[in-house]
């Protein structure tokens, strides 16, 4: 069974602080993604990666950085957290080629106060 694990599952951060959300996948997938979920918007793509060492901007990258140090790990970094970044964040992984499924983690609920 494909597995994507996110940590932490819940996080409260202060405005202006640095936040790092971590994601680990055991699927040996090349592609990994970070989405945020907000009511009325569905899931929106923040950053993605095609493999270790690569990161690409998604549709809403402003205020976020990403890091892919290895095949298994993909982090989302908020250097200066703001209340507008309060959301639920999902990490996902998928194969690079073919018509395949994307597997999602259970999400991280981030509150910036």
């Amino acid at each position: 069974e494909a597995a994507v694990t996110q940590s932490p599952r819940n996080k409260v951060a202060v405005t202006g602080g640095k936040v790092t959300l971590s994601c680990n996948q055991t699927n040996n997938h090349n592609n990994m993604y970070w989405y945020r979920q907000d009511t009325g918007h569905g899931l929106r793509l923040i950053h993605y990666s095609y493999g270790a060492g690569s990161t690409e901007k998604g549709d809403i990258p402003d205020g976020y950085k990403a890091s892919r140090p290895s095949q298994e790990n993909f982090s989302l970094i908020l250097e200066l957290a703001t209340p507008s970044q309060t959301s639920v964040y999902f990490c996902a992984s998928g194969d690079a080629g073919g018509f395949t499924e994307v597997f999602f983690g259970k999400g991280t609920r981030l509150t910036v106060v």
Binding site: V4, N31, Y33, Y35, G40, H41, G42, L43, R44, L45, Y48, G58, F90, A92, G94, D95, A96, G97, G98, F99, T100, E101, V102, F104, G105, K106, G107
Partner: protein, 113 residues
């Protein structure tokens, strides 16, 4: 740019009744299409996917979806719902195999006993 529209934010149905969730997409070519389900405090799970062939595709848990190129639609259906089908359902598209999903806002389904 591609987009996905789910016109119904909430749907309430009685247990045993049929369910149809609407999805319309905007994309210049034929996209890869998906339906995902999100149970409370969980990540997204794939219900079914479509790219070509028979326009009616079967998925897990007796869900099926029908693709219509002329209507740019990919509606999800289930003949008889169970209380456990209460969840949020997302329609999504990808422009290429195995990559970068664009989501609709989701439809929250409540199944009444």
């Amino acid at each position: 740019a591609q987009s996905v529209t789910q016109p119904d934010a909430r749907v309430t149905v009685s247990e045993g009744a049929s369910l149809q969730l609407r999805c319309k997409y905007s994309y210049s070519a034929t996209p890869y299409l998906f339906w995902y389900v999100q149970y409370p405090r969980q990540g997204l799970q794939l219900l079914l996917k479509y790219y070509s062939g028979d326009p009616v595709v079967q998925g897990v848990n007796s869900f099926e979806a029908e693709f219509s190129k002329s209507n740019s639609s990919f509606h999800l259906q289930k003949a008889s719902v169970h209380w456990s089908d209460s969840a949020v359902y997302f329609c999504a598209l990808s422009m290429s195999a195995g990559n970068k999903l664009t989501f609709g806002i989701g439809t929250r389904v409540l199944v009444r006993p």
